[in-house]
């Protein structure tokens, strides 16, 4: 009896293995057709590598397909993983479009000459400082660096006008940060550009001296501010909005946009680029164009709480308009040296 049961188990296993083989005929439950996809040929689709999350991207893709009839095949991952994947694939990539969380990932792919130059009609929709100078990628949504503070413990009036203010000893033990986070690193890159290496190093050391508590990423950082574990945290503006949407009302935290300019008053973009080797280049261009049309831009504004980058789109309630922010005068080209920033962070001990 025992043996029979065992054989059944084995049988099930081998049947499953058989499914793999038959998978080439029938296709997997979901990846229909992809199982045997030879190097993709230009069909009626667009292949997207998305460094932005599914929950945020997927609803928009549905709208895109409904509007254009072009189905989207998407591969989700972190921006870094997908950038590394694209670099390994080189000219053999099946991807048409790379949508990155931050300019760093796009910059790394662009530096390997893997991105095509976008048409001027597309680039022209977005202000100069939110797209690549070479014209090989374009920002599609913006997010502002903010200081999230606990409303029970900190009054907005007590907050300093710029990042340097947090070096004061009064902030000892009250700060949280996420040095491993890409957006934070972009802010440090901005510091190096605006302040120079030495002042940036001094600021980092002052943060460490002030016992800044490290978080793995922004979500837990903002959560920690909301539940009073720390009093202020350096984050992006939309995390708080998302968390309060899910947790309901009564979150004891608010965003503070540093009024004093400088590296703490940064607006960063998520952007897209078209692969130079895109098998479906016409569809790719259509997709990128779509992301900069009012429908998509409105989606970013209302559903993901980001800043739209084209003119004439309404922002989410409770957000300060982009124009009212004292944005640091930096171009995206100034913000791609993450390598130097990571070296500095590691050197002062903020990052392993």
């Amino acid at each position: 009896m025992k043996i029979v049961g065992f054989r059944k188990a084995l049988l099930v296993g081998f049947l499953a293995a058989g499914c793999l083989v038959s998978g080439c005929v029938s296709g997997a439950p979901d990846a229909s057709g992809t199982a045997l996809s030879a190097p993709p040929v230009a069909s009626g689709e667009v292949v997207l590598y998305s460094g932005r999350e599914e929950s945020l991207v997927a609803p928009l893709l549905v709208k895109f397909t409904a509007a254009t009839g072009i189905p989207v095949k998407v591969k989700y991952g972190s921006t870094a993983e997908l950038a590394a994947t694209l670099l390994e694939e080189g000219s053999r990539s099946p991807a048409d479009v790379f949508w990155a969380q931050d300019p760093g990932g796009l910059g790394a792919v662009a530096a390997a000459d893997l991105l095509a130059t976008l048409p001027q009609t597309t680039l022209g929709l977005v202000p100069m400082n939110f797209r690549s100078a070479r014209g090989d990628w374009v920002g599609v949504s913006g997010r502002a660096r903010v200081v999230v503070y606990n409303t029970n413990k900190v009054l907005p009036a007590d907050l300093p006008p710029d990042m340097w203010g947090f070096t004061e000893p009064q902030w000892m033990g009250r700060i949280g940060w996420a040095p491993g986070n890409g957006s934070f690193q972009v802010m440090v890159t901005a510091m190096r550009k605006l302040w120079g290496e030495e002042k940036t190093r001094a600021w980092l050391q002052a943060m460490i001296a002030n016992d800044a508590k490290e978080y793995p990423k922004n979500t837990p950082l903002v959560q920690a501010v909301a539940n009073g574990e720390i009093e202020v945290g350096f984050s992006n503006h939309y995390y708080l909005l998302q968390i309060s949407k899910e947790a309901g009302t009564g979150l004891a935290a608010a965003n503070y946009f540093l009024p004093g300019g400088g590296p703490g008053s940064l607006v960063m973009v998520a952007g897209v680029g078209q692969l130079a080797t895109a098998p479906n280049s016409a569809n790719a261009q259509r997709f990128i164009q779509y992301l900069l049309e009012p429908a998509a831009q409105g989606y970013f504004a209302q559903d993901t709480f980001e800043y739209p980058l084209i003119a004439g789109v309404e922002i989410a309630p409770g957000l300060q308009p982009l124009a009212s922010l004292n944005i640091a005068a930096l171009g995206v080209g100034d913000l791609i040296d993450t390598r130097g920033t990571v070296d500095l962070l590691q050197d002062v001990g903020a990052l392993e």
């Binding site: 190097p39 590598y49 993983e81």
Partner: protein
């Protein structure tokens, strides 16, 4: 005719070797990739090797990779003993529940651990009325140790439990007859007999610790995996990452030397075909209360806590009307790829186990070391290695399920290998020789004698690979064809966006589905 017979024997042997070589070649692909990338490293990347920072990373990795198996053993041995050899109340339930943490993805588990045990976590909120304003930080080494131990001890638990079930009771009875108390019998006879199981499970735990990214990144403990990831993420530096990953491989090989030494020269299979008697259950008496407390505490932390928090998120999301994702496709994909991955890893590991398990020679050991050396590689490295080779040399299967399965094979062959080798080691070799003298060819003996006798090991391998594949994330993200989401990728996507309710549903599904084979295996093994 005679010549033909000669080739038949050699044919089998060469088939076995050929299959093993093919699997080893696949397992070695990531290493080749790392060598290619590391060779492009400039002087800056090579300097990495000698920096004090790198040494600190090495020290942290070693500390964690030694502490986790040690602590796991301390948890696993009493739990294994209680659930196999005593009259512990609800023994079967505990046997299943204590193995369950194995199914929980580390990125979820560590996150939940922090949100519960963090300075202002749920526990603190419960204790608030008692005037406790904050709890001590658990991040860093203690948090990583706690999270990884709770996730990894089931590896040790499963191997030790299998060993306890196969120890000949006569050996323990001999100990008692020689005047040893039950406790000293356990220490002087049972424990040494468990040595190979402890070593085998411990190595799996250590290698999993070295490979894991989720727990160390949430706990912000800078081990190799984390700094390798930082190299990719922040600096897009594939060469620097490769140099670090090669150091990790070297560390893995060093750790294995430890394991091989502990196994020593003893033979552990039972001499007799006879004597499959059940050992007498130890009557716990009053001791059942502390025993129950231990089981309950481990179950609460390892299973109850994550389940409760996930359900809390889910219910909160539902009451607030958060739209939950439709997960039919993701669930189907997860189950489908893992149902294929498990028998594939088993088939891949079988020739390796047959060679390593039966040969005292150098080639057996080499097979073993190579098989394990890739096990500690982070999923992202395996993923990128297959992108490198796949896109270049086999574009026909690039970005298809086949390449994903190849990645799973590389990642999970060592796990299956560990389970199979242990099972093979306990099969008396003269049984296989007897099969040959009775006119059965080697392959027939394998099918009719060896595999049936290894059935618990085979089932263990299938169950463990299935559930590890269910929760695998980094390689899945890179290798899954566009459009193919799994439960693990759904969880990841939702968590990074702080959509907890959306993360909770796939997490609950993943844990629920993975629990089934584990529970079936556990019950079958212990109480058939």
């Amino acid at each position: 005719m005679r010549q033909l017979s000669f080739w038949r024997v050699s044919g089998w042997r060469w088939l076995l070797r050929g299959a093993a070589a093919a699997v080893l070649a696949l397992v070695l692909l990531p290493l080749c990739y790392l060598l290619v990338r590391a060779s492009e490293a400039g002087p800056a990347a090579l300097q990495l090797l000698f920096e004090a920072r790198t040494l600190r990373v090495l020290a942290r990795s070693v500390a964690l990779a030694l502490a986790v198996p040690l602590l796991s053993a301390l948890l696993a041995v009493p739990l294994a003993w209680l659930t196999t050899r005593t009259d512990l109340p609800l023994r079967r339930m505990w046997a299943v529940v204590t193995a369950l943490p194995l199914v929980i993805p580390s990125y979820i588990f560590a996150y939940l651990l922090v949100s519960v045990l963090g300075p202002r976590g749920l526990l603190q909120q419960l204790l608030q009325p008692l005037g406790i304003e904050r709890l001590p930080d658990i991040e860093g080494f203690p948090g990583a140790l706690l999270a990884l131990t709770l996730l990894c001890y089931p590896y040790v638990l499963l191997t030790v439990r299998a060993a306890l079930l196969s120890v000949d009771p006569a050996l323990e009875e001999a100990g008692r007859s020689l005047g040893l108390s039950p406790w000293r019998t356990f220490v002087r006879i049972t424990l040494p007999l468990l040595r190979p199981a402890l070593a085998g499970g411990g190595v799996l735990a250590a290698l999993y610790t070295l490979r894991d990214f989720g727990a160390v990144s949430v706990m912000r403990y800078g081990t190799f995996t984390r700094v390798i990831y930082i190299q990719y993420q922040s600096a897009f530096d594939r060469s620097g990452a490769a140099v670090l990953a090669l150091m990790l491989v070297a560390l893995t090989i060093g750790l294995q030397a430890l394991e091989l030494n502990t196994r020593g020269r003893a033979r552990y299979h039972r001499g007799h075909a006879a004597a499959k008697r059940k050992p007498m259950l130890v009557h716990l008496g009053r001791w059942r209360w502390p025993a129950l407390l231990l089981c309950a505490a481990v179950a609460l932390l390892g299973v109850g806590m994550p389940a409760a928090v996930l359900l809390f998120w889910l219910v909160r999301g539902l009451t607030l009307g958060t739209p939950l994702p439709a997960l039919w496709n993701a669930t189907g994909n997860s189950v489908y790829v893992c149902l294929v991955a498990a028998p594939l890893a088993l088939l891949g590991a079988l020739p390796l186990a047959l060679i390593a398990g039966r040969q005292r020679s150098g080639s057996g050991r080499l097979v073993e070391r190579v098989a394990y050396s890739a096990f500690a590689l982070p999923g992202i490295v395996v993923g990128l290695a297959l992108v490198f080779f796949g896109a270049r040399y086999v574009p026909a299967i690039y970005q298809s399920v086949f390449l994903l399965q190849a990645g799973y094979l590389i990642l999970f062959v060592p796990e299956a290998f560990g389970a199979l080798r242990a099972a093979l080691g306990s099969v008396n070799p003269s049984l296989m020789e007897a099969g040959r003298t009775l006119g059965r060819a080697p392959a027939q003996v394998l099918r009719s004698v060896t595999l049936p006798l290894m059935r618990n090991g085979v089932l263990a391998a299938l169950a463990i690979v299935f559930l590890t594949a269910m929760k695998e994330l980094p390689a899945t993200l890179i290798l899954a064809p566009p459009g193919m989401g799994t439960l693990a990728t759904s969880i990841w996507g939702a968590v990074t966006q702080a959509y907890f309710a959306a993360a909770a549903l796939p997490a609950v599904l993943l844990i629920g589905i993975s629990s089934v084979p584990l529970a079936i295996f556990t019950l079958r093994e212990a109480y058939q």
